[in-house]
């Protein structure tokens, strides 16, 4: 139903505006639809950021799920190099003796296959990694002992070379 009182009021405001009269206070806010704009605007921006925050809070979970699915499908796929039996694949480079020796020269002999695996010069971190993979006990302490007895020789820039105990002795004699 048309509200005559309201209609008259709005009409008067339009005339005032057309005549160059400025509106102030609550009248101005109501006339220009200010209340609705402020409330709607605040709600929209809140809703927008709420949706965005909800979306990004789930993002890492979705990614984790996808990655898991991806890794599952990869493990199910058969590649020629995967034909190797699982126990063969994880086989350590050097079988460890039941009792690990205490003599440094003997320990160096056990380390030799690892050195052959990673090359003549190597980073200490690589040797550490492969020693850990092969369950060598206390690699840190062993490396320190190797360095002190010049079995591990620094070549600069973090690179080391292997100087087996026999060669070491030769050097000392020479």
């Amino acid at each position: 139903m048309y509200d005559q009182k309201k209609g008259c009021f709005a009409y008067t405001l339009i005339i005032l505006k057309a005549g160059g009269y400025q509106l102030y206070g609550f009248t101005a806010i109501s006339t220009h639809n200010g209340w609705a704009m402020a409330i709607a605007g605040a709600l929209i921006v809140f809703a927008g950021l709420l949706v965005l925050s909800a979306a990004i809070s789930q993002l890492h979970k979705i990614l984790m799920l996808l990655e898991k699915k991806d890794s599952d499908s990869k493990s199910n796929q058969k590649f020629p190099e995967d034909d190797e039996p699982e126990d063969q694949k994880d086989k350590p480079v050097s079988p460890l003796p039941k009792e690990f020796p205490t003599d440094l020269d003997e320990i160096a002999c056990i380390y030799k296959p690892l050195i052959d695996e990673i090359g003549e010069t190597f980073y200490l971190s690589d040797l550490y990694e492969i020693a850990r993979k092969n369950d060598f006990p206390h690699p840190h302490i062993t490396f320190t002992a190797f360095r002190e007895s010049e079995i591990l020789v620094p070549c600069g820039d973090g690179v080391f070379s292997w100087n087996p105990p026999t060669e070491n002795e030769d050097n000392d004699n020479g």
Binding site: Y24, I29, M37, A38, I44, F46, L49, L52, S53, L63
Partner: protein, 376 residues
């Protein structure tokens, strides 16, 4: 002799008006604050120098002034009136922003939304003071504490107010260390300020790459009018994160944003010619800007306190003050206020999360207000 008198009557000394002198003083203050006090120097120095340049009196009709067709300054000002510079600045901002902290704790985004309440309160205030709706919307966006957004919206809705609105927005951004801390302290107890935030989780590279794409779609579908700002903002961020366009990202966050900032600052400063700038409207805009900024800060802090009523793991309510989009000034201020109470409380990364969501929030608000005004 006549020639000499004619020449003298055309000099700036002869044509000077008291309003030009006032504005030159204002420009000098900006330069002083920027260089000596190091308050937002990258903004205040170009603007301050622009004010000096724009207020040198000249013979009208020579094609010298920023408002005269075919003048060099007029062409440079084109980037402001079309909203070009703000878009370019947003591209660079995106290429600089790291959203890791926001991705690690997305709930802090709500503080960025809460701090936008200053915009809507100011909209009502400006309407009540007799400003027309388009002018009121342009003034209100000062509450977002984002210079480029304010300039962008004003250029679209009320170009005649660009000067005062830009100066007010940048002035209050520079005055963050003065305005925000008292409000933060007033609205929080010492116990609240001492709340420590947990360490943020590591965010994967994939998350950071996907975020800008998801955000641009969600935000711009909601408020398409914010595409010029958020489109470039998230594009810049994608360039940064994707890892295959480092050269472009590097250019966006250095040369491109620097060029846009220089031209934006200089021309906005030059647009404050005394006769255009010194009006009662400008005074009202400055007053409303201060109110907008204060309400924005307060609403962020209050909303953080409200969130604490429902959260098991309380958040430090100071973070709410970083919901305004003055990056990184307000985040730094939150961190400093937190550290003044407990030197081992590190709030910076959490505050940056609120700050970056404030940038998104204020750009969405600009889009919303622009859409509302199209309907009017």
């Amino acid at each position: 002799m006549d020639l000499l008198f004619q020449f003298l009557s055309n000099t700036g000394y002869y044509l000077a008006d008291y309003r030009n002198v006032i504005m030159i003083v204002v420009g000098s203050v900006f330069l002083y604050l920027g260089t000596a006090k190091k308050y937002e120097p990258l903004l205040l120095v170009p603007i301050g120098f622009g004010i000096l340049v724009g207020n040198i009196p000249f013979f009208k009709g020579f094609g010298l002034g920023i408002y005269e067709n075919n003048s060099v300054l007029h062409y440079l000002y084109f980037g402001v009136t079309t909203g070009l510079y703000p878009s370019i600045v947003f591209l660079g901002l995106g290429a600089m922003t790291d959203f890791s902290s926001l991705l690690a704790r997305p709930s802090l985004m709500l503080l960025g939304a809460a701090a936008q309440m200053g915009i809507f309160f100011t909209l009502l205030g400006a309407l009540a003071l007799g400003f027309l709706p388009k002018e009121a919307a342009s003034i209100a966006i000062i509450g977002g504490a984002d210079g480029p957004t304010s300039i962008f919206l004003t250029a679209k809705l009320a170009p005649h107010l660009i000067g005062p609105i830009a100066i007010a927005a940048y002035s209050y951004m520079a005055l963050i260390p003065v305005i925000q801390p008292p409000i933060m302290r007033l609205l929080t107890s010492r116990k609240e300020r001492l709340i420590r935030m947990p360490e943020l989780r590591d965010v994967s590279k994939k998350e950071r790459i996907i975020f800008p794409a998801v955000a641009v779609i969600l935000c711009c579908f909601l408020a398409p009018a914010s595409i010029p700002l958020l489109g470039t903002f998230f594009f810049g961020n994608f360039l940064k994160e994707c890892g295959v366009a480092d050269r472009l990202a590097q250019t966006a966050r250095t040369s491109i944003i620097d060029t846009a900032t220089i031209l934006l600052g200089l021309t906005v400063g030059a647009s404050t010619q005394g006769d255009v700038f010194l009006t009662p409207k400008s005074v009202a805009i400055f007053a409303l800007g201060a109110v907008a900024f204060s309400i924005a800060t307060a609403s962020g802090v209050i909303f953080a306190k409200i969130m604490n009523l429902f959260l098991k793991e309380k958040i430090n309510p100071l973070l709410g003050a970083a919901g305004v989009s003055a990056v990184p000034g307000s985040a730094r201020e939150v961190h400093l206020v937190g550290q003044s109470e407990d030197p081992e409380n590190f709030l910076l990364m959490h505050a940056m999360a609120c700050n970056s969501s404030g940038v998104i929030g204020s750009a969405i608000c600009a889009g919303i207000l622009w859409s509302f005004m199209i309907v009017l």
